[in-house]
């Protein structure tokens, strides 16, 4: 959340503000921490990576003359002998949204300098992410047992496996990296690195709770990508 006033200088809102920010012969993203701007630009590039995966999936699925596997059957779980379609995926979605919510609150409490609350919420986010990765491992092993391979599967078009492992694997990798960083930042917050102004990552600058917002941006992005994967790969 950028501030509307910097050094007593009132910034213009809206598109006029955009024009004057861009043409100010100064830093363009006014009131935005450099780390946050860099994280956004990284996320933009990551958006293109995931878009390429999903577009290639669209191209692969659209051009095969064999029927695509019925995802609501492939990903169903048996509960008491009755198949429930997409049950595990639905639970995974809810877990990830829960962790996204706790992250948003952690950012808020961080800016309010509520150290304990911020730390616990980041820890809760990390646990949510870990649960998600665990369920994904279960899902992968179940599918591998059923004979799904990158080059073929018993349910339909042979491209299914390669797209499934590539897309969910790359997303799961993002979640795993995020979980590692969430645990590191849980430690940093509880240890009071932002109160003692200990220096941050790869920089001489003093640490600040804005780092929690930057971490939050990454985590929300992971959730955002899952929204698209859930819609295009599982529901479509």
């Amino acid at each position: 959340m950028s501030e509307q006033k910097i050094d007593g200088f009132e910034l213009k809102p809206g598109f006029k503000g955009m024009a004057s920010d861009t043409g100010s012969d100064q830093t363009m993203f006014k009131g935005v921490h450099w780390g946050k701007a860099m994280m956004w630009i990284f996320l933009l590039s990551d958006t293109f990576v995931f878009s390429c995966f999903l577009i290639s999936y669209m191209k692969g699925r659209g051009s095969t003359i064999v029927d695509w596997p019925n995802t609501s059957e492939v990903f169903s779980l048996y509960v008491g002998g009755v198949p429930v379609p997409l049950l595990l995926i639905a639970i995974m979605t809810f877990v990830l949204i829960t962790s996204s919510g706790t992250m948003a609150l952690a950012v808020k409490y961080g800016y309010e300098k509520n150290r304990k609350m911020c730390g616990w919420l980041i820890l809760a986010t990390a646990v949510g992410g870990l649960t998600f990765v665990g369920m994904q491992v279960f899902e992968w092993s179940k599918l591998i047992h059923e004979g799904v391979r990158p080059w073929g599967n018993p349910f339909g078009a042979s491209q299914f496996g390669s797209f499934f492992f590539m897309i969910t694997g790359f997303h799961g990798f993002h979640v795993s990296i995020g979980v590692i960083f969430l645990f590191i930042y849980t430690y940093k917050v509880f240890a009071g690195h932002y109160e003692s102004k200990k220096r941050g990552w790869f920089t001489k600058m003093k640490g600040d709770y804005v780092e929690i917002e930057i971490l939050g941006l990454y985590w929300h992005f992971v959730d955002l990508v899952w929204v698209f994967i859930f819609a295009f790969f599982y529901l479509w």
Partner: protein
Amino acid sequence: MEETNKMEETTKKEEQTSTQKIGIYLWIWLLLFVLSFFSYMVDWYQFQGMLRWSLILFFMFLKAGLIMAFFMHLFWERYALVNVLLWPMTAIACFIFLMTAEFKYTLFSRFFYFVVGGA
């Protein structure tokens, strides 16, 4: 006098960095749950055809928009940042458009040569 001035200044500064009310996050959170539940219901009731695709896309874009606008704070950011982030997305739309034409052509040639057996 100077002391109070200083005090005023610090409170002002704190007000500037003040965060959004907790209610807005909780509402967005709840909305995301409800929307996810609805998009799961699309599969549960096995809606098919145009109804299915439009519902899936509607819930997807609504969820993505809510996450970006409120959880990622884009709603409160300055336009200089928002526009730098959102305009490149049009390139993705172009790419989708191109690849749609491409897969239709590939599908056509596969049917033509594999199924029909060529001219």
